[in-house]
Symmetry: C2
Subunit: 348 residues, 2 copies
Amino acid sequence: MRAAVYQAAGHVTVEEVPDAALVEPTDAVVRVLRSCICGSDLWSWRGVIQRPAGSRLGHEFIGTVEEVGAKVTTVKVGDLVVAPFQWSDNTCPACQDGIQTRCDHGGTFGAPGTDGGQGEAVRVPQADGTLVAVPGGRASVDDAQLPALLALTDVMATGLHGAVLSGAGEGDTVVVIGDGAVGLSAVLGAKAVLGAERVVLMSRHEDRAAVGRSFGATDVIAERGDEGIAAVRELTGGRGARHVVEAVGTPGSWEMALGMVRVGGGIGAVGVPHTMPQLPLFPVVRDHLTVRAGIAPVRHYLPDLLERVVSGRLDPSPVFDLTLPLEKVADGYTAMDERRSIKTVLAG
Amino acid sequence: MRAAVYQAAGHVTVEEVPDAALVEPTDAVVRVLRSCICGSDLWSWRGVIQRPAGSRLGHEFIGTVEEVGAKVTTVKVGDLVVAPFQWSDNTCPACQDGIQTRCDHGGTFGAPGTDGGQGEAVRVPQADGTLVAVPGGRASVDDAQLPALLALTDVMATGLHGAVLSGAGEGDTVVVIGDGAVGLSAVLGAKAVLGAERVVLMSRHEDRAAVGRSFGATDVIAERGDEGIAAVRELTGGRGARHVVEAVGTPGSWEMALGMVRVGGGIGAVGVPHTMPQLPLFPVVRDHLTVRAGIAPVRHYLPDLLERVVSGRLDPSPVFDLTLPLEKVADGYTAMDERRSIKTVLAG
């Protein structure tokens, strides 16, 4: 089969690789219908983190089940399935706590030694605990809905998780720092899933701000740093926002988050850069803050989000603004690296 | 009147000072029945933080109302009252959020220019929003109950706040790092107020551990650092504790908290040293942690805690192990500095 292969920084090719195949009786093999490129895939593309030459790429994909192991009971051949970017057994103590990204038997697609999403097919370990089937099957979903389902594999659930971690709920004011696909999804999650009333997006890119507005952002603030903080404070009667989603992960974005959050407020952090800043405790103590963070347990949110997408109540697909065939995956990396694309779909 | 006065590091005297007096119509004057010395009072005693010579000391006191301003309506002359260590209007947005320690019109007793608790009387600003009267009055409380009421002015409520911030509740497992008066109060708060099932106290001082056990600690761990972390993990099936109260505030205590908390768990921090460590974000992200901190809004907890003490359901008084007359306040500072006393009461 064909799959994207990492060669070196700035050099990704599509190669003939061994077909995805069952290894354990709890595995499934999924034929990929759509996959995409993640902001985190750019770390190795940019040479910021090391990745072994020859390793596979991509952790976001949807597809149809082609084969299942003897012990798989919840999905069957032919099912249209959505895969979270990590597999999980969904039964261990961490999974029972809703933290499937710390599953005792979990792992990430595209990690060295595994199949990546950016290929024709994927071996899915722990299929029962990982895959969620679209109830009506492939026939119930037209092609135009596939990107919306694809967005659930990572960014939509990750953005929502950030909003959840910030403590946002019905009627609340939420500020989202970060206008990448995750930040935009946080806007949509806060508004459409959690029912926030006022959602402020920090964005200086008009194309991204436009998606943010279509997702329900009530305000867009282009300023950064102290000016960005001042603008949010002005919008919130001087007191700051009760809920801030930190979807960047740099020292600068954390400074903004700490500067604009209201006394007693919450910061939900899903910005995970390759290096992690230190958090100054003083403002956390002084301002009675709640700081929550974590790699989003997509599987936890997937059944609900899937139902919303299939029923037409949620459409995160506008985070995708470029579609390429798998063979042109390198063009997608380049487009995202150069910020010409927010997020690129690979189709066929 | 007589009051403790800060002269220099290691040098506190009792002097004749101007009588406490009404300034604003929202003030009350309270005749002090009992006051005490706080761990934070030791910072200037040790010369770790600067304090103006001649400034007054102490922020924990109970007493009887001697005089009230024209606008005071909730307490009257003769009432037995408990004062939180900070005054607050209890009506501003921060107070309405339950964060009276960030009141728009708040302040701390004993700050330069104010009366301290370690004296014969105290001017209490914002009396209506600050003082809580014992329902039955002075006659309903015998002298033996006064230390329990005194503990509510800071440490009992602060310890409880730490347990609340850790997310602890009915049936939970909580670890308390810190065996000072606040840590011990966190044990009592977790057990007696929140209904935690298993409360583990990190303590290597037998006298403090004994108080902890009397407050409901089910386990006492003397080890620190990696050994302390390993001991907690062993007690919790290898996964760590869901709730950790950080009541010290040093880099070492934070490392312990981060090392022993379960994936998805919470750290509630009320340890406020004079210097604030940086919090490494990596373990927060990796372990899906909730970190909450803040100077306890004692006023928020006071009505409930007062009712518990008066009805005999809660007795935090064992945090006090030395009683001295006001004139011997310097001996109290010395005893606490030398760890011969957990916490010292000043009576008469």
